[in-house]
């Protein structure tokens, strides 16, 4: 234990005296997220600004526009109306993502099975948000086109009735109804699958928490998670992985400088060297977690009472990550190889485990994989702590696994370091 303590103190002192490299790696993930937020602008989830220039003003154009008022799309796309001059002026100032123009006669063309045209003008200064509108539109236009093909006959009857400009006879209404219901009945089994029920778990607890808990209830799971909240747990874990990698490479620096061999020549041999360096890594990471979470407290309104449990949980889990990366690094035959090998482990974990892209933003298949990665598991538990959702059995399991695996990797790394660096 004596050597472990000495190595731990020595490493902390070294990194305190020369912290630039570590701080840079710790801050890079935070900087990336802040830049993304700055690029999207505003607070909360980034939204596209869409301006309608509706020169047709018919039921058909209204129906297409209504699609953008659906709850989920409306979260991503904000819409306003304007004439074409004002719309282009706003777009020119960069205050809109897209202008959509429905020309006069659009509905007539649609009902007459001609090819109606919609003009979509994108803001060239933006990439992602106009693309969201474009994609949404392409789906919508495809849907409308299929409706035109499938319900060609009833649409034709409807066009004739509109032309009559009088109350339609019952027989015509019956004909339109049949024309629509018959194909729907035939295709119903494929087009209209059974309604999927959504079961919300833990709603009762949240409700009771809300009635009893005042301030904490506001941040409970019912709260909308904004852009930064979505990214923040991943930022912490990305910092952890990057910093753990930099710390691990220090084994090769110790070898190159002869300090590892000199320590092994001491009275305690290599008894506490690897454990000391691993624990120093845990202490450094815990300090980084605390700093980032305190920054997060001001930026994201994370409650103070959640910060200490989050730091303790992350600190304990980081033991497993640091020990595993240390082992990988001493497994390599050269320092360059160590960097490559550890990057091959760290980068996929960062990408898949929700540290770079939030799991919530991933396709279901990737998300399922991401949730099973070590940082994905820890990240999900961290969200529960940060957003007042309480401890779960999984949290205890991840902690125990991190500590047990960490101890195992320390044991392996000690043997491997001795074999690799002094050939013993």
């Amino acid at each position: 234990m004596r050597q472990t303590w000495l190595v731990l103190q020595k490493d902390l002192l070294r990194w305190r005296r020369d912290p630039v490299g570590l701080l840079l790696w710790a801050a890079i993930p935070l900087a990336v997220v802040l830049l993304m937020k700055a690029a999207f602008g505003g607070s909360g989830t980034p939204t596209a600004q869409l301006i309608w220039v509706d020169q047709d003003k018919t039921l058909i154009t209204q129906a297409l526009r209504t699609a953008f008022e659906q709850e989920q799309i409306a979260e991503l796309i904000e819409t306003t109306d304007a004439d074409s001059t004002a719309a282009m002026e706003t777009l020119g100032k960069g205050k809109a993502s897209v202008v959509v123009i429905f020309p006069r006669g659009f509905a007539d063309d649609y009902l007459n099975a001609k090819t109606p045209k919609i003009t979509l003008i994108k803001n060239p200064a933006q990439n992602i948000l106009p693309k969201i509108v474009e994609e949404t539109f392409s789906i919508l236009v495809d849907g409308a086109s299929y409706l035109q093909y499938v319900f060609d006959e009833p649409l034709q009857t409807l066009r004739d009735l509109v032309a009559l400009d009088a109350a339609p006879p019952d027989s015509s209404i019956l004909s339109i109804s049949r024309g629509i219901s018959a194909p729907l009945e035939q295709a119903g089994a494929y087009l209209l699958p059974p309604v999927i029920g959504v079961e919300v778990l833990g709603e009762d607890e949240e409700t009771s928490g809300a009635s009893a808990g005042g301030e904490s209830a506001e941040a409970s799971s019912g709260k909308e998670i904004g852009f930064l909240e979505l990214f923040f747990p991943g930022v912490l874990l990305m910092s952890m992985l990057f910093v753990a990698q930099i710390l691990a490479i220090d084994f090769w620096v110790e070898d190159r400088n002869g300090t590892y061999a000199r320590t092994v020549s001491g009275v305690d041999g290599d008894a506490g060297f690897v454990l000391g360096k691993t624990l120093a890594g845990v202490v450094i990471l815990t300090a980084i977690f605390l700093t980032l979470l305190l920054i997060g407290r001001f930026a994201l309104q994370i409650h103070l009472q959640n910060i200490l449990p989050a730091v303790a949980y992350l600190g304990a889990c980081s033991f497993g990550f640091v020990a595993a990366i240390n082992y990988l690094v001493v497994l390599a035959k050269t320092q360059k190889g160590a960097t490559v090998l550890s990057s091959m482990a760290v980068m996929p974990l960062v990408m898949l485990g929700g540290s770079f892209f939030p799991l919530e933003a991933m396709p279901a298949g990737l998300r399922a994989i991401g949730e099973k990665t070590p940082n994905g598991l820890v990240g999900e538990q961290l969200k529960l702590i940060l957003f007042d959702r309480g401890a779960t059995p999984t949290m205890v399991v991840t902690l125990v696994v991190a500590l047990v695996l960490g101890s195992f990797f320390v044991f392996l790394a000690r043997r491997q370091a001795r074999s690799r660096f002094v050939g013993a």
């Binding site: 020595k10 002192l13 300090t259 000199r262 020549s265 001491g266 041999g269």
Partner: protein, 251 residues
């Protein structure tokens, strides 16, 4: 005292050290010489317990290194060829860490560190990060780290490589002082003039085998006939060394 008997170290099918034996009495500076790849560093590594010998025995002050490494190494100081220290922290902090690694407690460190810094001429730079030191200052600190716990046995692997003449004189004086105080020292170097002025006796290794062993006079006397036949003028350790190990370049 250092006792080495039949020390042999094999890596795969390569014999790095082939059954060498020698003994270093207290107060002796033992010159372990040889060209690159002769087996000097492997021998030092076996003596320091860093690597385990394939066969043979090493005893430091009568304690077997393989059987009781902790006790054997308590009185061992190592000055490696590399500047094995931490450049980010100060000379004082380096000495505190390495002293701790050698088992010194806080009280012992508080008295030994200032004394050692004074002895190697670094007292006025004690709090400065080592990365700001010159090569000579780092060499002196490297030596100080190996001697901080007043070991009875010291292994020095080329401790004066690349230093300025002043630092070299300083380092050699310190080594002589240690020897006078009764420390057993094993010293390796490629500077034959340095070895000739400092060491006695010598052991010359080549390809893991002992090719000469004894005091300078003894070696020159043993080789006298050979040297005479080879018409070597003014016999010296360097001429003898070149004669014994050849002029071929080594890796």
């Amino acid at each position: 005292m250092i006792e080495v008997e039949g020390l042999r170290k094999v890596y795969g099918d390569r014999v790095a050290v082939d059954g060498i034996s020698f003994r270093v009495e207290p107060g002796q500076v033992f010159g372990l010489l040889g060209p690159n790849g002769a087996g000097k560093t492997t021998t030092i590594s076996c003596l320091s317990g860093l690597i385990r010998a394939t066969s043979g025995a090493v005893r430091l002050n009568g304690i077997d290194v393989a059987a009781d490494p902790k006790r054997a190494k308590a009185n061992l100081g190592v000055v490696p060829q590399e500047l094995a220290m931490y450049p980010e922290i100060s000379a004082r902090e380096n000495l505190a860490f390495w002293g701790g690694v050698q088992g010194l407690d806080r009280g012992e460190l508080s008295t030994k560190i200032p004394r050692m810094l004074e002895r190697v001429g670094l007292a006025d730079r004690a709090k400065e990060p080592v990365k700001n030191f010159s090569g000579g200052m780092k060499r002196r600190l490297n030596l100080a780290i190996g001697l901080i716990h007043d070991p009875k046995v010291v292994l020095m692997d080329e401790p004066t490589v690349g230093v300025d003449p002043q630092s070299r004189v300083h380092i050699l004086d310190l080594i002589r002082d240690r020897a006078k105080a009764g420390t057993s020292i094993v010293y390796t170097t490629h500077y034959m003039d340095e070895a000739e002025g400092l060491c006695d006796p010598f052991l010359i290794l080549d390809q893991g085998k002992v090719i000469a062993n004894g005091g300078l006079e003894e070696l020159l006397e043993q080789a006298g006939n050979v040297i005479e036949r080879a018409s070597i003028p003014q016999p010296s350790l360097e001429r003898l060394f070149i004669h014994l190990t050849g002029k071929d370049l080594r890796e």
